[in-house]
Symmetry: C2
């Protein structure tokens, strides 16, 4: 590694300047996108994880209270977003490494693999939650699942809003994988 | 095309044998995995799309009939699987191109981008459907959504089974993206 650095810097003016420069730019963009994705997934996890509505009235049989963990799907959503957020924080190290060593290949392949797995996890969490949010809004009269959004208004707004960060994160991951592929093809 | 084969075979003993050979192997594996993924997603789409159960009794008010398109999520599942399946069939052309021209880079980057987008679509469809299938099995007593699997037994078995092909397809896509990244890093 220590040998490769100076060698490359020495080479730079002759042949590999544009490619190395482009790859460094790509790596910096990768780093910035990861920071945005951290905010997005963290925001989603917190927004969903703090959702809790108790209605100001109750009957003998039912206490009108809705929390995110009444729905296993929302628990999964919070877990998925937290895991992806933690992964993104750790992956910043690799991203910085790529800014410094823009010719690295092996670590980029590893990063693509991990990014792809995390994209799948985040998409799974976000779309499973979206399916339940849709049901909460619309219900399904065929099987007598009624909408709960008339009663739990702020609960519904909150769980709908929490999806945004997650779907933003999905877009960012697709961009991140594309950037890594471009960097790999350009070395 | 007919020229490339002999030419490359002629080159082989001199310099580019290992890398070119590995990339050709990777491309052939890519092609095979795509064929399997086509079967998996097609199977899922058909299994879900033909799900239809009418119970042999009915009341004045309700006819006990369950079809996949009573649930918008399952319609999305069928559409997502069909789109991904059609994409995979088209992508076979690129895969064959990569077997013949194992040094190609630009098309591999395009393939990674498209594969990633399709992975996200397939994961979204599969996990949204999984969330509803879970609800159909377990229900959610907190919000009075009752399980429908006692009544619609074969319907529930069918929609659960249809998920398998989709989740298998997700695994295959992650492998496909990894293979493309490996091929890019090895040229």
């Amino acid at each position: 590694m220590m040998k490769a650095g100076p060698l490359e810097l020495g080479d730079a003016p002759k042949s590999s300047t544009p490619k190395s420069g482009v790859n460094r730019g790509v790596s910096i963009l990768d780093f910035i996108l990861r920071l945005i994705a951290i905010m997005a997934t963290l925001g989603s996890a917190i927004a969903m994880g703090t959702t809790n509505e108790t209605l100001p009235f109750f009957t003998q049989f039912i206490r009108f209270r809705a929390r995110y963990n009444d729905f296993p799907t929302f628990t999964f959503f919070v877990v998925a977003n937290s895991v992806v957020c933690a992964y993104l924080v750790l992956s910043l190290a690799l991203s910085i490494f790529h800014i410094m060593r823009s010719a690295a290949q092996g670590t980029r392949v590893v990063l693509i693999l991990l990014d792809t797995a995390m994209l799948a996890l985040l998409t799974a969490g976000a779309s499973a939650a979206a399916a339940i949010v849709y049901l909460a809004h619309k219900g399904n009269t065929r099987v007598n699942w009624f909408s709960i959004c008339q009663q739990f208004n702020s609960f519904c707004e909150r769980i709908s809003g929490a999806l945004i960060g997650s779907f933003g994160g999905i877009m960012l991951f697709i961009l991140l994988i594309l950037l890594s592929a471009v960097a790999l093809s350009r070395r």
